[in-house]
Amino acid sequence: MKRDKRNIEEFVKDKLDGFDAGFQNDWSEFETKLDRAILYYRMKVGALIGAVLILITLGVAGGSGLNTSNNSQASVVSEPSFLYNLSNRAPFLHALRMRSELNYRTKSTNTDPNEEGMEPSSRTTLAISTSSKRENAYGKELDNVLLLEAKSAGTPLLLEALREESKLAFREPLFLRELSNNAAEANANLGLRAEQKPSSSPIIADVREESNELTNVANLDLSGLEADLEMDQSDLYVRPPLMPVAFDKRAAYVSPLQAENPWSFSASVYPNFTFRKFKVDKEKLNLIHRDFIDATEDAETGGFSLNVGIVVSRRIGRITYLNGGVEYINYKSVSQYNFFNYREANINATTGRIDNYTLLDEPEQIVFSGNNVYHYLNFPLSISHQPWVTDHVRLNIEAGGSFMYFLGANGQAIDYQSLETIDIADREYNNSIASLHMKIGVCYYVSERLNFGLEPTMMYFTNTIYSEDYPFQVIPYSVGVNLKLQVKLN
């Protein structure tokens, strides 16, 4: 009889120190594997170098093409067709209000030099047509459109007035530029004249009626414009010009706050509230304790996430963008349980599933409350269409997808089978999730660089972070609301 008494660790170490697991020299088998591994490694390195070279080549080739496309984009952006809706914006009327503050030049010899620096209260009348026919040069009917054309002599003055008023991003209406370039041809096509009172200097100070052929012309008193910008549009419709005007009804309005640079880099922070639904998978009932099912389906229904990241955007249309970036997501959910445990689960050691239950002598109340935090790294890619409602307010209609890499989890929860408290970091998770999303929201631009918004979002997940043993049927949709704060970095 041999007696052995010592520390269990020392015992095991002594016995297994020289243990022979039965090695047999298999160098030839290993050598084949080694050669194959070296070959795969060289192929990987070669593919990586090739991909880098291709990207560099594309970058160089695309860069030269980019300049061209930028120029054409710039030309599209910088030469919008002139189309304003009076109810939203009235730059021309604003210019009229500023008329008294402008030192304008006039070609007219009738201008009284004393009238320069006139008082704001001076009056101006504009002659417009009250013709009921409202069509543009192409015969198309105009709706809620104010088209004003100045006589050639008055055009430089109007032009200067508008330039004085403009901010950095203001773009000169095309029609004015054309008219100024074709001043001599405009005489016969006037729809507007300014009648100047002797003691006042109107905004269109030197617009003169040179032709007596104009008919159906009525005078419009524009005094008191500062107080009253609501004008009867029917009084402002003009006789359609005979001279063609570059005019595109489809061009969207662009606010002066929209950046001219098609590329933008910004930092964004947005909290997000999501709502989820949990339902036990009927085919996995033996992976979850029977007493726990109802409690779990009610316990976790929502969460809060904070997304912080960098967004890179490229304007691909007038108000359409391609967005990408990277963001860190911190998702927190609260688990609260209060239920009675009536039976003990008998778990099969081999399959890991519940075979049957043993009733407890007395039911046990389980009360648990805990915060669980999940960490992700998200790589989104999307296309957004962002029409301007006003100079500062913009809609965001966005659709895209993202790849989320699971970083880890912190917190405690109740084990689905044993009902013991466990660390959620010890559970199994999948490494990544892919998702599709759609947002429709509104943003307020404080300035070109700073905006914040409210964006209801819907997401569809192609998979989850949970493993096959997760007993719940994962509803792949989530609905949430983003409160976005975005700061432009370039």
């Binding site: 009889m1 269990i8 095991v12 297994l16 243990f19 022979d20 697991a21 290993f30």
Partner: protein, 190 residues
């Protein structure tokens, strides 16, 4: 101060290393034949059977030869190779290990230094094979943590980082594993 045999061995190892870094197949073969028997033992602790252990060992040696240029000589070559074998084996079976580890939070209060005197009266000497087979019968979580801590000298912090579990879980798995191993040895051989 090293004795002549140690100096000779050290010089041989240096020469072997240099040739291996140069990619010479003869040097690679020599290193494989020198260390493979012990590395198979190491991998066997974390594998289900000998075949899986052999696969772990082959993958481990491939990583050794691919990264031999990174070996700085700060530790012995055998120690470095052993670490690679363990890391490779653990990463291959990490999912299974974590599945087998579930512990009550209260269990973290158990002290990992709880070492009890193990008394065994056996009719015949207990061989290494007996102890190994008994260790092999332990649940995967207990066996892994016990092997890492007792046989391979990992700290609980290193084990928690390696397996992706908390230090508390590591300590409780070790305590439970030691108790269960002692109980099984007594039942089998006492």
């Amino acid at each position: 101060m090293m004795n002549p045999k140690e100096i000779l061995l050290a010089n041989s190892e240096q020469e072997l290393l240099a040739n291996c870094k140069a990619g010479k197949r003869v040097a690679q073969k020599r290193i494989y034949e020198l260390f493979a028997p012990k590395m198979l033992n190491v991998c066997r602790r974390y594998a289900i059977d000998v075949e899986q252990a052999r696969d772990f060992m082959h993958d481990g040696f491939i990583k050794v030869f691919m990264n031999i240029s990174k070996f700085r000589g700060e530790a012995a070559l055998e120690t470095w190779i052993t670490r690679i074998m363990i890391n490779n084996s653990i990463s291959s079976i990490k999912k299974e290990i974590r599945k087998g580890i579930k512990v009550k939070i209260d269990d973290v209060k158990l002290s990992d230094s709880e070492s009890f005197d193990f008394e065994l009266e056996s009719k015949q000497p207990i061989s290494a094979r007996n102890v190994f087979d008994t260790l092999d019968d332990l649940p995967l979580g207990y066996r892994t943590v016990l092997s890492l801590y007792v046989l391979d000298g990992f700290t609980h912090k290193e084990i928690s980082g390696q397996l992706g579990i908390s230090e508390g879980t590591s300590k409780s798995q070790l305590a439970k594993g030691k108790r269960l191993l002692a109980k099984m040895l007594k039942e089998k051989y006492q």
